[in-house]
Point group: C2
Chain length 468, copies 2
């Protein structure tokens, strides 16, 4: 607060030459590459624990990719807020305080809908954030708008929980901008366990709202806070003040039973996986004995083990050859096929074998029945999708495998469309948050009969909400 | 097409070490910094032509910022597609072609809703893109999904028009992946002239859809193309095939009369500005005499000149002191103020003085009338907004200036909320496409009377579509 501090501004301006450049990482590129290299053996240990052969083509460069992605996704540990804000404080005239608040004196500034990704400190999975940051300028100076986003990202790119993230962004902005006050509101979404997944969009995800405030946003005069909430409402953003829930863990993996002592009950390979994850935490400079991180390696390993390579015959109980007789068509031909049937919007969650990050969405299956009017039970399809989805996968292969399995039962024809969001497209380099990938497989009669294919695709369209 | 080429894949794999890193620019960082430095004088010439003093605080580092941003936004000239795709081709089994198409053989893959920004070659303003890319794998190999986005971005980060962008992305993907075919569909939005602006969202922007296809997507068998369109429809994306409109220029600045010969009718400063922009084109390796670039420097200068510093008294005709007598309140006090009035959703387009890029949105104005029931005409407010908006600005200052101007007429109280999208937050480093900034100024009675403020904010909320 107080008047324009010329000296402070001059000093800030002097440091400004780098303001618009990429944030340099402490230690530089070479140190970063060396740190990523050092992490590769840990990723190899995780792949081995999953029963995978890291020499197979799709996995050969996965350790390098995962290590680089993990370092990149946690780069906030090696960034300094001071470097971001210092060069971007601009003198800006305000109004006489008695007249009101505007410009450089008390005129609230709110950047809404900053999209971020962070990593859950309880399980190491990424979580999605809509971040809203407000501040009230003081001392006749404002900060470049993009800096509110950049500072938020520094703390998002660490292992976090939503409340601490809100607190750290608020505290850092208050200390670096020295405004009259800062308000931070976060809406966060955490991927659910793959067992209970309905996550074509963020529906079905675990949601939490958290906020943090300083200065004029605190205390009994709630006028600034009310203005902040009103400006959020203009964008349809309703922040429930449920900071009380901060004591309730939001991470769904916390509900898993996790043995904290690794000495018993677990096989050697699991111990090795837990040690590997612990070493990744250490390489970030984190303390694995910090309260919030106790059990994190075990939880991440438990998540990964849900995608462990497994045996077809064990899992695909209902959907095996025993069914084939039921659906085998008399002539085996393609001209007198039965009616087109479909099971649509079957949810799945897979693990991308190139990045060890989830991709999730829905599977649509079309097939011909045997003319008797009997179809295959939806639960059997869901098991099929779960089997082919719940492993280290790529979407193209999963689509083909599901189609082939359905074709092995309904010989006339099978068609599969998979629609998925890839976390690796979001939390990694390209950061295309809204991108969504569709793959399609067309077998048998659907290939020869464009009208059958069109009919199936139309049934998907008719059952899809066009608003995405 | 063709069988799995082991040798090709091995060669590709050998080049793969850099695949997940940031794309290195040809020439490296130092060359890039030198090129940006060399561009600063051109930006200074533009500021001088606008009648601005580049030593004033807000503009002092603008030349450096603009030069870096322009180089960054056109980095595609210095990136190679080969470097992106080579390391990311993965062997992936397909199905027997007679059975159908799936996986590595003909199983179509479509990445939808890749959000990009490019620069209009006719006027150098950024335009917004939803990019949808499909391909049909061949030769038993698929490409990493993120590469479809990365390759598209290489061509987006050049001076473009939508049809050429679609063609170049399609051609580059076809050549580098060697698939059975590639389909590219783009939905593009170009900012309109500030004179006829209704651009709170992308409504009011000039829209164009363009597509490009190769291989199996071409020709008489339109089954793959139909599948592509169907998969887009699932996301609510309707591509009108209006490639015929490619011959009609979509850039709204093309409707401006632009003198191509700079010798006459223009003042020296404008000539200097045109030369400065021409030098920026040259520094990209572009040929300013290329047909599509003829007139581009002139058009960009004309756009900038719409934001030339101008004189208050000349422009603010209706909204000057002559009005004050009409609205001056008898007692001048604040307790017996009149009714709260508001003019909401007044569109504006300003030019960010830190980045020379547009920010645009709406202004909401609240004030007290003089008790007579008479208000100020909406057209007068729109002139006021145009005056304070249509120049090199920052949002905080514009908010204060509009509030002070209204307060000078309605002494009881004035309140202003500005909501804006900043192109500099989108097309530059932080790339927060959906972020939106709100600023608020509260003067006079609105400061003392929370219920008046709440009433005004509620009127904004009531007239705002919550779906953003």
């Amino acid at each position: 607060m107080g008047a324009l501090e010329e000296a402070h501004l001059a000093a800030a301006a002097a440091c400004a030459c780098e303001e618009d450049g990429d944030l340099e990482l402490l230690g530089g590129e070479e140190a970063e590459a060396a740190a990523a290299d050092a992490m590769e053996p840990a990723v190899r240990a995780l792949l081995a624990g999953l029963g995978e052969d890291d020499r197979r083509e799709g996995l050969r460069r996965t350790p390098k990719r995962v290590a680089k992605a993990f370092r990149d996704g946690t780069r906030g540990y090696r960034q300094k807020v001071k470097d971001i804000v210092q060069g971007a404080l601009f003198p800006e005239v305000g109004v006489d305080k008695r007249a009101g608040s505007a410009g450089g004196t008390g005129g609230q500034v709110v950047v809404r809908d900053i999209e971020l990704f962070s990593y859950c400190e309880s399980c190491l999975l990424p979580f999605s954030i809509q971040c809203h940051v407000g501040y009230v300028p003081s001392g006749g100076r404002v900060v470049g708008l993009s800096k509110l986003s950049r500072v938020s990202d520094v703390f998002a790119k660490r292992l976090q929980n939503p409340q601490r993230l809100a607190n750290e962004v608020c505290g850092a902005l208050h200390a670096s901008i020295q405004p009259a006050g800062v308000a931070v509101a976060l809406q966060c979404w955490h991927i659910p366990l793959p067992d209970n997944l309905e996550c074509k969009t963020l529906q079905g995800w675990i949601r939490a709202s958290h906020s943090s405030r300083s200065g004029v946003f605190e205390g009994e005069n709630i006028t600034f806070w009310n203005d902040f909430l009103a400006l959020l409402k203009f964008r349809g953003i309703a922040i429930e003040v449920d900071n009380h829930s901060a004591s309730i863990p939001w991470c769904p993996l916390r509900s898993l039973e996790v043995p904290l002592s690794s000495g018993h009950r677990k096989k050697g390979s699991t111990n090795g996986m837990v040690s590997a994850v612990t070493s990744m935490l250490l390489s970030l400079g984190e303390d694995p004995l910090r309260k919030e991180l106790l059990g994190t390696p075990q939880r991440y390993v438990q998540w990964l083990l849900k995608f462990k390579a497994s045996n077809l015959n064990v899992k695909l109980n209902g959907f095996t050859l025993s069914n084939v007789s039921l659906y085998e068509r008399p002539g085996g031909g393609t001209s007198d096929h039965g009616a087109i049937r479909s099971e649509l919007h079957l949810p799945f969650c897979a693990q991308c074998e190139h990045h060890l990050l989830p991709f999730y969405g829905v599977v649509h299956i079309g097939y011909f029945d045997n003319g008797s009017g009997e179809g295959i039970d939806r639960s059997q399809f869901q098991s099929l999708v779960h089997f082919y989805g719940c492993k280290l996968q790529v979407q193209e292969r999963m689509t083909r495998q599901i189609a082939e399995a359905v074709y092995s039962v309904s010989h006339s024809g099978a068609m599969v469309v998979v629609e998925a969001n890839h976390i690796c497209m979001i939390s990694r380099g390209v950061e295309k948050i809204r991108s969504n990938t569709a793959t399609i497989a067309v077998l048998g009669q659907f290939l020869a009969d464009p009208s059958a294919k069109a009919c199936f695709l139309q049934s998907v369209l008719d059952t899809t909400e066009s608003a995405v």
